[in-house]
């Protein structure tokens, strides 16, 4: 993984490149779950498994993935809100993996987070002014009238009325609450802001307001963002580089436009095809690839490539060997994919059929999901029972 990473950062030594603000090397995070019985082995949720990436100054690194892909865990590990099981996080040239809470403290000003739920992340019983002023109080940098002045400056900057300083969070709408979260994160002009689904809870018209605000702040203060979302069109819009996660691993990393136009990993391809496009013509034309099944459990992840049980191109090598994240099919060093059988440009995943043993796959009753399967359609005509086990637990034997 580490070699791959070196390639991905265009030959940068570990943390040596002044242009790289954040470097993550082979990061692993396990969460223990209660073991099955007294003498059985302890089980872990493999939330993040060997992720390496680097984020350049002033840029936005987008992370997409489905529920349980580990994207939020990764973000929290980077912010050191979780302790890391193994691997390294290098921020601004400094290895912060093992820093004590006390030594970490000054760095906390430089890494800030914005959360998804603008209600849950604000204390309902405190006034907005004191919530936004918290960072100044905690770090002891401003007090009294000076703090108030700076808080009001921040409020104005994020588009809130500074006169609302004494209001409670409940008096604001969802979009305004998210602005409060942004103002709080901005208090110390951090170097890195981790946005964890910042607009997912907002209505579309308000979403656009917040995205524009984040973009303005980025150009004004030279901020670096890690932007996590499950909405692919939003990620495409804001990111310079996008990483796709599946079951704790990065499956593909590429410059934004490249990822969305020439995806290499079949999972990226399927994900892109599944997104409903708000344009009837494009929607009618596109070839939708419907993946079977759900994401397997991260407690017992599938062997080899973790996507193989759902992958239309799966081959025996995908079951046995975990593919490294590296440039495929002559891509530049910025575009890496973890796949043995990457997709060529314009390739249609629907033409492929997996060539692996069926016990390795998630089998679903296909009749309903296949287009052109017009078998009379009488209820109960042919409901082909999936012949093999499909459990949410993945398919390891």
């Amino acid at each position: 993984m580490t070699e791959t990473n070196a390639v991905a950062t265009a030959g940068a030594g570990s943390g040596g490149d002044a242009d790289v603000l954040l470097q993550v090397e082979n990061l692993v995070k396990y969460f223990p779950v209660s073991s099955r019985g007294l003498f059985q082995e302890k089980l872990y949720v493999h939330a993040v498994e060997g992720v390496s990436l680097s984020v350049r100054r002033g840029q936005t690194f987008g992370i997409v993935g489905e529920t349980g892909s580990g994207k939020s865990t990764l973000a929290r590990c980077v912010a050191r809100l979780y302790d890391i099981t193994s691997g390294r996080v290098i921020f601004d040239g400094q290895d912060i993996t093992k820093l004590s809470q006390r030594r970490m403290r000054p760095l906390r000003r430089e890494i800030q987070m914005i959360f998804q739920d603008p209600i849950g992340s604000l204390n309902p019983r405190r006034r907005v002014g004191s919530i936004i002023g918290d960072p100044f109080a905690i770090h002891g940098t401003a007090s009294g009238a000076e703090r108030k002045r700076r808080v009001q400056e921040l409020m104005e900057r994020v588009g809130l009325n500074p006169e609302h300083y004494n209001r409670f969070p409940a008096e604001f709408s969802g979009g305004q609450r998210q602005r409060i979260g942004v103002a709080r994160a901005l208090a110390f002009q951090p170097k890195l802001i981790i946005c964890d689904e910042p607009v997912s809870a907002l209505d579309v018209s308000i979403q656009a307001q917040v995205i524009n605000l984040l973009a303005d702040l980025q150009s004004e203060f030279g901020l670096t963002y890690i932007f996590i979302a499950h909405d692919l069109s939003v990620v495409r819009h804001v990111s310079n580089t996008v990483g796709v996660m599946y079951l704790g691993k990065l499956t593909e990393v590429a410059p934004s436009e490249e990822l969305f136009t020439v995806p290499r990993h079949p999972y990226t391809g399927a994900l892109l095809s599944a997104v409903p496009v708000p344009d009837p013509d494009q929607s009618d034309e596109r070839q939708q690839i419907i993946l079977v099944g759900d994401v397997p459990s991260p407690i017992l992840p599938p062997s080899g490539c973790r996507f193989h049980p759902r992958c239309p191109k799966a081959a025996p090598v995908c079951v046995s060997t975990d593919p490294p994240l590296e440039p495929r099919l002559g891509d530049g060093p910025q575009h890496t994919a973890a796949c043995h059988l990457p997709m060529a440009a314009g390739e249609n995943l629907g033409d492929f059929h997996p060539s692996i043993d069926e016990t390795e796959r998630i089998i679903e009753t296909p009749s309903i999901l296949l287009d052109g399967d017009e078998d009379g359609g009488v209820p109960g005509a042919t409901s082909v029972g999936g012949s093999l086990s499909q459990s949410g637990e993945g398919s390891q034997s």
């Binding site: 018209s205 009837p280 994401v295 679903e364």
Partner: protein, 337 residues
């Protein structure tokens, strides 16, 4: 339709009318608080304590004046419903199959337990649950999110209803699973010829599956059109604003153009058009609510806006009143990067 609350009367839905034809899909799109869910819950008699006026005619019968007993017969048997959260709509203590059987036998006393169970297995197979004869005895927690939603669809379709109301059926699901569920709904509709009302805030889903679209805002219908007309020849400035605030899916990356301001309070809705305070083309006339009148060239295209209905005159009026150019033009902001 309004709700009395501690803060006053919340006017959730203010005089809306629409119709759905058999075998068709009507999408209702709108932001939080636009009244899109409440309007259909009222039809189903699920809004307790609300003050309701108007009519909801289903197969020639007014549901709003029907007795509670009659509504119980209609719900489930004639009109199926699917909700956003499949976990809280399935009872966690009972097996999935049992819940479907119960639902069938409640409405069809003739059917024996064995027959109903066979039907439940059949239905689960139909919505793509693998090994339905075995999974029928699973509890809801043994199903994944997508499977639960499919089980809900199976239950809603169990008695072959004439109308299926799907309230944000895929909002809680991941995109790959969402695609599966939408396809299942579409297939079930082909098989049973059901009319579907699909409530969503996702314009992508609208573009994907519906025939007609109703755009709601502030408890009122702003525009009704078929799918293509809505996306390519929308009339109402709110629809236009919604479409423009989406990130573009290809081509130049421009600055987004959000709708300024906030949605109106339903306690004190502004007089006249609810969108007027945020509208770029607002005129004096907007203090009065315009009727939902035919707009544009397409039949069935309705819009509640004072802007002229013929596109040429409309452009002229827009130029006079508001911004330079509407949909599809060059952005006014710099690029994001």
């Amino acid at each position: 339709m309004s709700f009395p609350t501690a803060d006053g009367l919340v006017q959730a839905v203010r005089g809306i009318s629409y119709h759905v034809e058999a075998g068709q899909t009507l999408g209702i799109v709108g932001e939080s608080g636009s009244g899109k869910s409440v309007s259909t819950q009222t039809i189903m008699g699920l809004t307790r304590g609300a003050r309701i006026s108007g009519r909801a005619v289903f197969e020639g019968e007014d549901l709003l004046t029907a007795s509670p007993g009659r509504m119980r017969e209609v719900r489930g048997a004639k009109i199926g419903m699917i909700f956003q959260d499949p976990l809280s709509s399935l009872h966690p203590y009972y097996r999935v199959g049992w819940q479907i059987v119960e639902m069938i036998r409640l409405h069809d006393r003739e059917m024996s337990k064995e027959q109903a169970r066979k039907r439940a297995v059949e239905l689960l197979g139909l919505v793509g649950i693998p090994q339905p004869d075995r999974r029928v005895d699973d509890y809801p927690h043994q199903f994944s999110g997508g499977m639960r939603q499919r089980a809900m669809i199976a239950m809603a379709m169990a008695l072959n209803p004439a109308l299926l109301i799907a309230d944000e059926p895929t909002t809680a699901l991941d995109v790959t699973v969402q695609a599966q569920v939408l396809r299942v709904i579409r297939r079930m509709q082909e098989i049973f010829g059901t009319a579907v009302i699909l409530i969503t805030h996702d314009l992508g889903v609208i573009a994907d599956v519906v025939d007609d679209v109703l755009v709601m805002y502030g408890g009122k219908v702003m525009e009704r059109a078929d799918r293509r007309t809505l996306f390519y020849h929308s009339h109402h400035p709110y629809t236009e604003g919604l479409l423009q605030s989406l990130p573009s899916y290809g081509g130049e990356r421009e600055r987004l153009r959000p709708i300024p301001g906030q949605p109106p309070s339903l306690l004190t809705p502004p007089p006249g058009c609810p969108f007027a305070p945020r509208c770029a083309y607002v005129m004096d006339k907007c203090k009065e609510m315009p009727a939902l009148d035919p707009a544009g060239e397409e039949p069935g295209h309705l819009s509640a806006c004072w802007l002229p209905h013929q596109s040429a005159e409309r452009e002229e009026a827009r130029r006079r009143v508001g911004r330079a150019e509407p949909a599809g033009s060059v952005g006014n902001g710099g690029s994001v990067r």
